[in-house]
């Protein structure tokens, strides 16, 4: 990670792998809503809990593309994620809405995000909403909108974060990789938790896809 001035000043840093998985997941199911969680490394117990350093979101787990509102599978998925990724913590949530024009983060997604934010070991949590209208083959911009909860506690409000608050690691390279992946239709090999439940042989950690993206 190159700690440029922009990166140092931002609250979150999202790695290209995370961006790619989110956009690929949304592209795989253009006709329904999709959601998933964001992962970051767990802070080591002896490190100072400095809230000034940006939180690095290094990976995501795509969860569902149908029945996003139902609890049992969500609970099962979160338990498996916590058991599998022992060095990482769930620090955020992403969602792509069903309708093209729907850019609202409210609804069940917001509730899930609030619960995640309450249980997260890191001081801040991120809610990424995919901007459906901004996804295109040329990949001129990162098609994501960022939200965060206003304050801990009773307040359920989500406030929109300016793009400066969230940096993408090596943005140009990321956009190029994304364009490549979309052309190759790499989203076909993405496995979300729904796919996994239909066929448990499928790997929801997407380790093969991650290798592809890194190269």
């Amino acid at each position: 990670i190159v700690y440029t001035k922009i990166v140092v000043m931002s609250q979150f840093l999202v790695e290209p792998l995370a961006v790619a998985k989110i956009v690929l997941h949304a592209c795989k199911y253009p006709h329904t809503a999709v959601n998933g969680v964001l992962l970051a490394e767990k802070p080591s117990p002896d490190s100072s809990n400095s809230s000034s350093k940006p939180i690095v979101i290094c990976n995501t787990v795509p969860l569902f593309h149908s029945n996003l509102n139902l609890a049992p599978m969500l609970e099962a998925a979160l338990m498996q994620i916590e058991a599998t990724y022992k060095n990482y913590a769930i620090v955020g949530y992403y969602q792509a809405n069903e309708l093209l024009n729907d850019a609202s983060p409210e609804g069940v997604g917001a509730h899930i995000y609030q619960k995640i934010a309450e249980n997260s070991p890191l001081p801040r949590s991120l809610y990424i909403l995919v901007d459906n209208k901004a996804i295109d083959r040329k990949c001129s911009t990162i098609p994501l909108i960022y939200y965060q909860r206003k304050e801990a506690g009773q307040s359920q409000k989500l406030e929109r974060l300016p793009n400066s608050a969230v940096a993408i690691d090596d943005e140009e390279d990321c956009l190029e990789t994304l364009a490549n992946l979309l052309v190759r239709q790499a989203y076909r090999s993405l496995v979300d938790f729904d796919n996994h439940l239909d066929d448990i042989g499928l790997d929801w950690t997407n380790s093969r896809l991650a290798e592809q993206i890194r190269n």
Binding site: A71, A76, I81, E82, A83, N101, G107, G201
Partner: protein, 281 residues
Amino acid sequence: WALYEQVFISALDCGRLEAADACLVQLSRQFPNSQRIRRYEAMRLEAEDNLDAATEIYKKMYETDKLDSLSRKRLVAVLKARGRSVEAIKELTSYLKDFCTDFEAWLELSELYLNECDYKKAAFCMEELILSNPHHHLYHQRYAEIKYTEGTTESMELAKSYFAQAVRLNPNNMRALFGLLLAAGNCASSTNKSSTSASRRESARLAQWAAAQVAERYRAAGSKAAKFTTSNSSNSSDAASSDVATLALQLSLCCSPTAAAGDASSPSQGQQQPASNPPML
């Protein structure tokens, strides 16, 4: 000609409006003054996002022919596309009063209610579907999921029964197995006064059985994956499957001490659901 129709609809789905137009021209030449072609014209307008004109056509078609179910359903789709889910629900409910055996419509209505977080009505829709088709495991499983999400003790008991029924109907339904594991676990550690220690023991046994089933499935899947993949990924999938197997067994073991002791407190609750999102609404 059926092929023309299918290509037309697929072209609309992909956004290839020129291809869709070509099909539509051929179809309207072959079948002039056809209601079906009129509906396709309206769908073409929908694809262009000209929702007002499409709605007009559907309304006119419905007025001329009260039995035209397909145009009524398209109307619901247009309302849904506009984001007006409350109106869509209203329209769909009045449609279902006339055509109460349309399973797809009940399923769609159930989803619309879920988006509005109206779990009772969504459950009602699933009940209609179960009544019509009692051997379909997916309906039982979906109903159980809705009941689980509701979160009350009675609904959790119901969820447990329906997940069990879904597993009986299809033992390979992973969602039903996971659901059974979680629901039975919740029932076993329930602190509600109405649950007896006998029922909690029963739930715990059910949870353990479900956990064993899940573990077995994962081990089978892990070994299957090992045959087809290189050594690297087979190690990871083996590890993953054994992880889940141990997790499942751990969960079930959490239930048994509580039930065996028969006491009301549930020390395992926190451990059982490390990142739980129970009745969050």
